[in-house]
Symmetry: D2
């Protein structure tokens, strides 16, 4: 249940109501909300004088629902704003490997007229014996690119031990698929105001995915974007299975912008262009595509990254599809 | 292993080679092939004089592979041919319910300038207590539509007891997801020449899916199209999960045309338009979309069928995407 | 809905009621049942005089439910009867390969004091280039073993083209995982009286699995046993994932005997003994275990078959577990 | 690759070798190991004088493999040691709710002659609107039970923000299914010496699961136990699907003790006894079973917890199965 309280409510009354409804107090833009469990359905008539409006729900997808907020949220990344007629292309290598590598990527982004750079500094590798990322040094290199080129930086927090560092350096805080249930990260993101790009865990249902977003939203950060990046199924010819049916559900039922990542879903560069075009045709707010100056020497995810020439060809093919669905690419 | 034998080989020699290589003799257009297990890798030098060409493979995707035949097969349905720059839209209700219903669908197809009608006469329902289809009477109604309007008819064989009837009445024999492993059906289709639209089982890997196509191809019917219609995953918000990563694999590695069915994957009409656009952007040979004059009264799959107005809007939005990927819709 | 009609109802009245409730007439032992969709919930008061008893249901698990029949069905295979304190061990090779092979298996069965022999004559292989089974000749070899040793023969029907032959030669008709949705087979089995061992499709939900059994039960054959043999999941270290949680559900909610097949689930002989012991501890009516005189030369499923020595050791370890759960092995 | 270095190696030489082989230095009991990626296969002959022994591997399951250490690790929890002929039963409620509740559980444990108490203080709930656990206060109540009764305490770390607190209060640090990829937690556990009970993520492959254990092992803590608790599949009748095929793999290929949790897998109390018996028959080192004085009022996982009477009956039925597989229950 969400209760929007009147502006003139006193702090003590608000606190009393929060206790009564076992609700979290959320500052949502210029209004105050009490958000309780969806199992709560009824309002005490004595409280009606404090209540501007209230909503009841079938499940714990509440702040994120179109029932609560009919339009897609407007979240700004640089000059771009979600929920309008633009689609953001966020590109870059899987991992920050060196300044030279980032410079090459930056040239590509500039040449293509794009504005956003993604790369990981803390890599959540499944094996302790693989490259684990450059850490803080990687974050600093990304920040350098922002200063030099004006790009928005999208980078990943792996676990809560370095969440503050990522929040400090990034323009968009990416929460990776493996970190999606990490309450430490979710709560830290809830206290930030920077946009959060929350990736779906590969074993995570849509319901749980949106509930993870609710942790951040109810923590006070209204700027959450959802990223579908493939789920784990029995099929082994691709790395994961991109769940566009799930995306259709998210678009219909939630007010959160949707970003799609075909690179991690497919796991092989040959399939990324077709999938990226399909993602564009889904009429979503953004695409995340892994691009590397020379994928064959990449320190992580070598097989799925496009080289620069492949990306430019892809971009050219995306523009008419974007137009067909009423979008333009930034 | 595939061996293309010289045209002058004698019948007894061919038979001897077939036994030696434990191979099936396949008439492939104007040439004769011996197709053995992919585990066979070497040719007896004594046989070289009979051999025009031969191919070895890593797995049992052989006749279907781009290694064997680099271009997508050209399979004709009416005036449409796969593997070129056209995409076929095959629409119609889940089940044949009455002549009136089919007449309404036929009007829509004509109005839209399309050429193909799909509907099931034998329904493979999961419950014995649900509507099981009109059977032979349904096939006859479909044939009536072909005669009246010149449409190509796509309809499903449920089990081998009525395979011959479907082959007689249909222009395209649809093998449904639940029948995909049915050797009786696969072998019967292998003896036919009509195009077969083979749907992927929802628990079937890409490898097994293509191997089911190999049953038909090695039976002597070169006209097999693959249809992805959603696989079963842990996600329950949609009926199935459309596997476009798998489609990217099929397009890269097989010579079989690909048809996509977003209706069964999603299971809910609201998501079908977005998904159909994504499918179109995948640059495939065809789309299968369930359309019903009044979905609310449909005897099967009521929730996922578009009404006629919804379909016309969808079609209008598909055309520019088709154009963007170099296709036009028929 | 299931309606048990009074014994004195006239044929014309029964027929009228069947039409009214869109119900199937089922001869269930010595009584007549009308079985309609579970969506039917109410009885016309005018019909009450014809009705002995009736049941309504939440879903189409009806004849198979413990609500309809509280105790596990008693189905006889030779001297063994399900639903009592015995567990049947059905062993043998994946495929009939030769008479010598079956004789070796028969010796093992006799030595172990068991009574049932399983082997496939029609193999539902996923590749057309693999061994497809000995067919009718295999059935005849199995029948020979029955005559010589008195064993019950369990063998598989692959598709409806040879269903009658299998029904003629087998004591228990096995419907394999890939044939589980085959309406031709299910209906043919419904007209038989011999016990049917219905294997769960590897992509099949418990709900659909039991509904396939309902096809046979509502066809008039009350002798259906369910066999869990592993479902397809994302895990690739084993061939399939044995779903014992699903078995717990089946035991709680259905009246159908449960048989478990750890061999196909695991796919590797090393894991079969541990899993077979776990299956025995689940307190089920039977186990199906693949055993081959020399697994290394088996023409199918070589990796998962136990050799005879391994099986004898396993059997010795199963007996005390059987005793612990109140069963003895036959 | 694992290299066991000679005891007389100098620190500078060890460091040089670590850099050369990009290896982690691991203190493994009384010896020093260099552990590098499994892609490293060859030793520089110049280094042979420093090397006692070395192992190469096909994948990054190294320290955990039976190839490296043939016998199951001996890890002590109170008087119990893994890898011998005892199986530990760890029982208790899902969440610490109050001291009274824990006292009731403690009485049950004492009555049954068991030694271990499990309960969560930090609950990784999927919804922010559900009960999140008692936190530090819960840990203190658990510690009180240890002091009073001498039980070993098993409790969960949810995210790295409170990892140190859990490590301080627990006897066994449980890493939950949702935290299994949390590098912050894994690294913190690697620096501890207390036994870690690592639960498999429900979307996690066996390969990734064991690699998560490698993070802890290579961090210097040799005391890791693996806990299978059900994976996510398409089946919805149970909460998860207990993967005993995966357990057979773990037992065959790894040296890590295995603990099974049938409660979370099933999600419904009715199925837990059968599954617990199956788990016991798998011949594993431990079982984790949720027990609550009154499950109907539990603040989390109400449906899957056994009441005390049910547990006592289960325990009686487990003893003969334990005996049958050569174990006794502690």
């Amino acid at each position: 249940m969400i209760i929007e309280v009147r502006k003139n409510i006193e702090a003590s009354e608000l606190e009393a109501m929060a206790m009564k409804y076992k609700a979290i107090v959320v500052e949502d833009y210029d209004r105050k909300l009490l958000v309780g469990s969806s199992s709560a359905k009824t309002i005490d008539t004595k409280d009606e004088r404090h209540i501007e409006k209230h909503w009841v729900f079938d499940n714990d997808m509440q702040l994120s629902s179109r029932k609560f907020m009919p339009n897609t949220r407007n979240i700004s990344i640089g000059n771009f704003t979600t929920g309008k007629d633009e689609t953001i292309l966020i590109i870059g290598p899987c991992s920050v490997e060196s300044e030279e590598q980032l410079e090459q990527t930056a040239s590509l982004i500039q040449k293509c007229g794009l504005k956003s750079l993604r790369a990981g500094a803390y890599k959540p590798r499944t094996s302790p014996y693989s490259f684990q990322g450059m850490g803080l040094e990687g974050l600093k290199l990304l920040a350098k690119m922002r200063e030099k080129y004006g790009f928005s930086i999208v980078t990943e927090v792996r676990d809560s031990t370095h969440a503050d560092a990522v929040i400090e350096y990034a323009d968009v805080i990416q929460v990776g698929a493996k970190a999606m249930y990490d309450h430490g990260i979710l709560r830290t993101c809830g206290k930030a105001r920077k946009p959060v790009l929350l990736k779906r865990g590969f074993g995570t249902t849509i319901q749980e995915f949106v509930q993870a977003a609710e942790f951040i939203l109810s923590g006070g950060n209204p700027n959450v974007m959802l990223c579908e990046r493939g789920i784990r199924t029995f099929e082994t010819k691709s790395r994961f299975t991109l769940d566009l049916c799930g995306v259709a559900y998210l678009k219909e039922h939630t007010n959160l912008p949707v970003i799609l990542d075909p690179s991690h879903a497919m796991g092989y560069a040959y399939g990324v262009p077709d999938l990226a075009r399909a993602c564009m045709a889904m009429n979503v707010d953004g695409l995340l595509i892994e691009v590397h100056p020379d994928p064959s020497v990449a320190k992580s995810d070598a097989s799925q990254q496009l080289n620069h020439k492949q990306f430019e060809e892809l971009l050219n093919s995306l523009r008419p599809i974007a137009k067909a669905v009423g979008r333009h690419i930034v």
